[in-house]
């Protein structure tokens, strides 16, 4: 077996090989103009180091930010939107809402399709799916002539209520195909994102059409050049929801690839959660500029269809282009190692979202950065040892850290020592991340304190225990190789595909048999897609529903058993909804009908990764070295034992201790203990909890 993962990011391209002997990786610079060049180069190098050939590769798994970058940099195809006459400005009007109440200078993103290329066609389908005005062939032909004259490369078709009845979109697409030929890309809103809400659906189909020519050319080049070198294994793409799909699907719906990279990181976290047998897991990945939070239940990341790309104003939520495709639900917080601490105009201590990034980086990097960052705070209190930081790649100038904090935080606040100021920066960062997790938990209707915390990224192990304290979490998982990137996650992801049916109707008015038929049709469609890469007996299906009280916005997700027991499961829905609602809100409502909002049908490769509790190698503490770390609660430095991961065994070892590794440092704070499980992951638990 030889599987390769290729992760193309904006700066670096990672290639990871998995053989029965383990993982090997190589990192090369991304070749932005022709991304396949660097990817192929990385593959060549990796194969060379393993003494393998392309023909020996059994499978390639690929994720890329190329589609996202094309949307941000506006490098996509010349795209037109054909829409219902009278509604060409849906894209321009957006939600008509200001996303920041007090900012008078906000800017909205430019629509991907400019107004002159948004063309109305006389046609109309009503809310119940009935036809009010049918499009005429004559109108379509004259539209085709305009599209030809404009030399558009891609056409998005989005009509009102097409989620209910796609007939007009299909009819117009077929006619346009005969008129425009095969060189023009055609995308239908009912296929790309068949959900109610015209702005979000049109925005999604336009984004898909906009990146599709570029993506299909790129993927074609990559595959054919791999094949030229002798590759004939399977080729799968990483989707935004943490699942894999076939090249054919990826080419049709490239918009589903946009968050593939970050989804890989979450997929890895989900894999570790399955390995250690954690059913409810809060993944927290603390990197250099931001921290990312994702809830994972039963080894499956929380996904949603509410995502936006290419934010136009200060990266503020609401300023981007919405895309309604399944995406891992990541909350990104401006609190990473490089986040800058400062005193704002009100004299308040603030951390982030501005970041010193890696250039010039934290003051302690000594690359010209003068700002006090979270990393500087860690250096000052003693959390980070100055030697061997980041695997020895960066030589720290530790004395610059307290200088920067004294100058920018301690003195302005009139504090008597630099250590408490530094500890305060860390405390505030912990608070910010814990608040984000709590607020996001409320949004999803989850009780954060019942989750395990899985920390990753360079800073995960440093912040985990304090954040867990704040959230009432009692167990923390620190994966083996917590610093490893998304590419490994690609190798751990299942092949899966999901499709949605919009069905806003009161439960009591729904014909369960008819719905079952629609679900079965959709299920057959998604299973066929997955079956292109997975044997049928390894495919499991899921039917997820969203329900709400009619008129309310609080949508509660529930799942249904397979179609054979559909009607039976359907009957219990109302009771299950009320049970969840009661748990969430504290009361239920009477005489208000419960309505179905959406059905999403998925097929997924069964990934069996059972928990493993084999204790790790039992080794006694070989080097009893110690380190002093300032503690905000104790108001003084506490002495921590410094231990190696390999020296931790299956028996709990009490804090305070520091686990020091090449890429990360893990703090086992007082009150916590640590042990190691089979796969090398660390488990921290609250003593007595």
């Amino acid at each position: 077996m030889l599987r390769l993962a290729i992760d193309i990011g904006g700066t670096f391209t990672d290639v990871v090989a998995e053989t029965p002997e383990g993982l090997t990786s190589v990192k090369v610079l991304t070749s932005a103009q022709a991304p396949e060049v660097a990817a192929l180069d990385g593959v060549d190098r990796l194969l060379h180091s393993l003494s393998k050939t392309h023909a020996e590769i059994t499978g390639v798994v690929h994720g890329t930010t190329l589609a996202t970058n094309a949307l941000i940099e506006r490098r996509g195809a010349k795209t037109a939107l054909v829409t219902t006459a009278g509604f060409r400005d849906v894209l321009g009007m957006r939600t008509e809402k200001r996303f920041e109440q007090y900012a008078l200078d906000i800017e909205m993103p430019e629509p991907l399709v400019p107004r002159p290329l948004r063309l109305g066609l006389a046609e109309r389908i009503l809310a119940d799916g009935s036809v009010s005005i049918a499009p005429t062939e004559q109108d379509i032909d004259s539209l085709a002539a305009r599209l030809r004259a404009q030399e558009v490369e891609a056409v998005a078709i989005g009509f009102l209520h097409s989620y209910k009845n796609p007939a007009h979109e299909v009819f117009v697409a077929e006619r346009l195909r005969t008129q425009l030929g095969n060189d023009v890309t055609l995308c239908l809103s009912s296929e790309v994102a068949g959900e109610i809400r015209e702005y979000e659906r049109f925005s999604t189909v336009c984004a898909n059409a906009y990146v599709r020519p570029l993506m299909s050319r790129y993927l074609g080049r990559l595959l054919s050049q791999l094949q030229d070198r002798g590759f004939d294994g399977s080729f799968l793409m990483m989707l935004s929801d943490g699942a894999l799909t076939t090249l054919d699907q990826a080419t049709r719906f490239p918009i589903r690839l946009v968050e593939g990279g970050p989804a890989g990181g979450v997929a890895l976290a989900a894999h570790v959660a399955r390995e250690v047998g954690s059913d409810k897991t809060l993944s927290l990945d603390i990197g250099g500029t931001t921290a990312k939070i994702c809830f994972i239940e039963k080894g499956q990341p929380q996904t949603s269809r509410r995502f936006e790309v290419a934010r136009a104003w200060r990266d503020v939520k609401g300023s981007g282009l919405p895309v309604r495709v399944p995406t891992v639900e990541l909350v990104e917080i401006g609190a990473g190692g490089g986040s800058i601490a400062n005193i704002d105009t009100l004299g308040r201590l603030k951390v982030g979202p501005k970041s010193a990034s890696s250039e010039p980086g934290p003051a302690a990097y000594n690359r010209g950065g003068e700002d006090a960052t979270i990393t500087d705070a860690h250096v000052t209190v003693g959390n980070i040892a100055s030697d061997g930081f980041a695997g020895g790649i960066i030589a720290l100038a530790p004395e610059r850290a307290p200088d920067a904090i004294a100058r920018q935080i301690q003195n302005p606040l009139g504090m008597d020592a630099v250590e408490p100021a530094a500890a305060g920066i860390i405390e505030l960062a912990d608070e910010t991340m814990a608040n984000a997790a709590r607020v996001h938990g409320v949004e999803l209707g989850l009780d954060v304190s019942s989750f395990d915390l899985l920390v990753s990224g360079g800073g995960g192990g440093l912040h985990g225990a304090r954040i867990a304290d704040k959230l009432g979490i009692k167990r923390i998982i620190v994966p083996q190789n917590a610093g490893v990137g998304s590419a490994v996650g690609f190798l751990r992801s299942p092949v899966a595909f999901e499709s949605a049916i919009s069905e806003v109707e009161p439960l009591e008015e729904i014909n369960a048999q008819l719905l079952r038929t629609r679900v079965e049709e959709t299920l057959a469609y998604v299973r066929d897609i997955v079956a292109e890469a997975v044997p049928p007996d390894e495919i499991e299906s899921s039917i997820k529903l969203e329900l709400r009280y009619s008129g309310q916005g609080l949508e509660i997700p529930l799942s249904l058993p397979d179609p054979e027991r559909f009607e039976e499961g359907f009957k219990n829905l109302a009771a299950r909804f009320e049970e969840r609602y009661l748990a969430l809100v504290g009361f239920t409502l009477e005489n208000i009908s419960i309505e179905l909002v959406s059905v999403s049908v998925g097929a997924r490769e069964r990934k069996a990764t059972g928990p493993s509790d084999v204790p790790g190698a039992v080794t006694e503490d070989s080097q009893p070295s110690q380190r002093d770390i300032y503690d905000l609660n104790a108001r003084r430095a506490l002495t921590y034992r410094v231990i190696e991961r390999a020296a931790i065994n299956g028996h709990a070892s009490r804090g305070p201790a520091v686990v020091s590794e090449a890429q990360t440092t893990t703090l086992v704070r007082p009150g916590w203990s640590v042990r190691r499980v089979g796969q090398g992951h660390l488990i921290m638990e609250r003593a007595g909890g």
């Binding site: 200001r98 109610i196 809400r197 009100l346």
Partner: protein, 552 residues
């Protein structure tokens, strides 16, 4: 010596307090009935200290709720003294003069007890879809016709829900179950907030919030003072004319910018109207303060101290200071015009730094079935925002309100109406160096071929468009008509006969700077996008057009 731990704890706690409010507001928003309420975030949540002073508030919410709530808690405690409250109690009211300006808005206040003492309060407020009376229209001649008013009283006593009170509300509402659900949501939202507050006091070992209060108020007072001091001292006056219900209304302001504070007197504004577009003073204060704060101190969080730096007053009985029993349902028609009135004063203090006038009050499209089929359909039609000093105004975007429109598909699913078109209206943005935001034209009819009834209560600026600044021209005034030939000119109730359509064109935003100075590429772009007509381009930006032709 300053205690380092305390400094850190205060900073962490301030963040947490805002986060607690945010969490409450988000939970409320999801549970709220009525698409408009959710789109708008027509709600708010806040944390108060034991004296009833507001410490922190959710950023979510419309200015109307955000700023009225600050005064609500103390006002409610004046009716039910704090010493009579026990754990498990909660207070409620929808009194327009204590809450948020009309009977639709309910405020619930819950005390937080630690060791038997009240340490603070959680308050939240939300718009309830229907509380009886005439429903959503400006037709009431007094507040008594506008729905049931609940005086300040206990919604819960010692943990036992006041079912009698809830029965009164539900007996008076057209959507009783939804109304009950919304009120209970406020209660549970506060309960969660109370436990978050007491948790954090335990985590940081606090006995009371007095230290926090001092820190938050001192920092905020200083910060606000510094921010307001950017505007030169002086007295500035401005006036603005609105259509009114059926006769013009004048709004007047005299703004005194002093040493880090601003005082506004609305004396001289028109007296109360006899229909429900009047505004209680609390709601006027909320929107006037919002306009000032958005321009001068947008980044300072809302709390008692930051709000205290701005005062807005008016003699009683004016359209901006209506007293009971004046009708007030559509009070936003007046309230939402006040930011433009304030910005006009500030323009004199800071010439060239202030955006042009915007379309103002939200246009509520309140349709109901007037044939065989009974239904109501509520949406909003948004106009253009005024041009900003450095950029064009946003098209079809609400300002000062933060409400978004209900999507056409959702509106058509919810009620038997058809939107025949909804597009930008060319040539409606005020010409200028920066162009005002565009208005939109919407055409609506019945799906059933039945009569429709329309409340025109909120169609404002039908006689004059929003003014430009610094030489910029006015945005287009709004127009509303029915295809049977009826021109809508006042805020009454209209009938749209079967087969006819309602055609709305909202007002456009005012322009900023002289049109002749507009970047020629921007003019060409507007032209190619069809946002301005060839005729308008030549007439308004003639110099530019001619220059371009010369170059050809």
């Amino acid at each position: 010596m300053t205690n380092a731990q305390d400094i850190i704890a205060r900073n962490v706690l301030w963040n947490r307090l805002i986060s607690v409010c945010e969490e409450q507001a988000n939970a409320l928003m999801r549970a709220a009935f009525g698409a408009i309420v959710r789109e708008a975030g027509d709600l708010s949540a806040g944390v108060f200290n034991a004296r009833g002073d507001m410490l922190a508030q959710a950023v979510t919410g419309t200015p109307g709720h955000v700023n009225t709530m600050a005064a609500s808690v103390r006002a409610m405690l004046a009716f039910v003294p704090a010493e009579t409250l026990s754990p498990g109690d909660a207070l409620v009211t929808n009194d327009p003069w204590i809450g948020a300006g009309h009977v639709f808005d309910f405020v619930v206040v819950t005390p937080a007890f630690v060791n038997g003492e009240i340490v603070g309060y959680l308050a939240s407020t939300s718009h309830i879809v229907d509380v009886g009376g005439r429903g959503w229209s400006a037709e009431g001649r007094s507040v008594f016709e506008e729905g049931v008013t609940i005086p300040v009283m206990r919604l819960r006593k010692g943990g036992a829900l006041n079912e009698d009170l809830l029965n009164i509300v539900t007996a008076n509402s057209r959507v009783p179950h939804e109304a009950r659900g919304d009120i209970l949501s406020l209660l549970t939202s506060n309960d969660t907030g109370v436990s978050r507050l007491t948790d954090l006091m335990r985590e940081y070992d606090l006995e009371d919030l007095s230290g926090m209060t001092r820190f938050i108020f001192e920092s905020s007072a200083q910060g606000t003072k510094a921010a307001l001091s950017r505007a030169p001292r002086g007295v500035y006056e401005n006036r603005l004319t609105l259509d009114g219900y059926d006769a013009a209304i004048e709004l007047r302001a005299k703004m005194t910018i002093g040493d880090g504070r601003i005082d506004v007197d609305l004396a001289g504004s028109s007296p109360v109207a006899d229909r429900g577009i009047n505004c209680p003073l609390n709601y006027s204060v909320a929107y006037a303060s919002f306009g000032i704060k958005a321009l001068l101190a947008p980044e300072i969080p809302n709390n008692q101290a930051s709000l205290d730096a701005i005062s807005v007053s008016a003699p009683p009985g004016l359209v901006v200071s209506a007293e009971r029993p004046s009708p007030v349902t559509a009070r936003h028609v007046i309230g939402q015009a006040l930011p433009d009135l304030m910005l006009g004063c500030l323009e004199q203090a800071l010439p060239g730094e202030v955006l042009a006038e915007s379309s103002g009050a939200l246009w509520t499209i309140a349709l109901s079935g007037a044939g065989k089929t009974a239904f109501t359909s509520l949406n909003v039609a948004l106009g253009g925002m005024g041009a900003r000093p450095h950029s064009d105004g946003l098209s079809t975007t609400a300002f000062p309100s933060g409400v978004g429109a209900v999507p056409v598909e959702a509106a058509e699913v919810a009620a038997p109406v058809i939107y025949h078109s909804k597009e930008f209206a060319p040539d409606t943005g005020g010409a200028g160096k920066q162009r005002g935001g565009l208005a939109q034209r919407i055409e609506i009819g019945s799906r059933l071929g039945e009569d429709l009834s329309l409340s025109a209560a909120a169609f404002e600026r039908l006689t004059t468009g929003p003014a430009g600044r610094q030489g910029g021209l006015s945005g287009a005034k709004g127009q509303v008509k029915i295809t049977d030939g009826t021109q809508i000119t006042d805020k009454g109730i209209y009938r749209i006969p079967a087969g006819a359509r309602l055609i709305l064109q909202t007002p456009g935003g005012g322009g900023f700077g002289e049109p002749a100075k507009r970047d020629r590429d921007a003019v060409a772009r507007d032209l190619s996008e069809g946002l301005i007509s060839q005729e308008a381009a030549e007439r308004l930006y003639q110099k530019e057009i001619k220059e371009r032709e010369k170059r050809k």
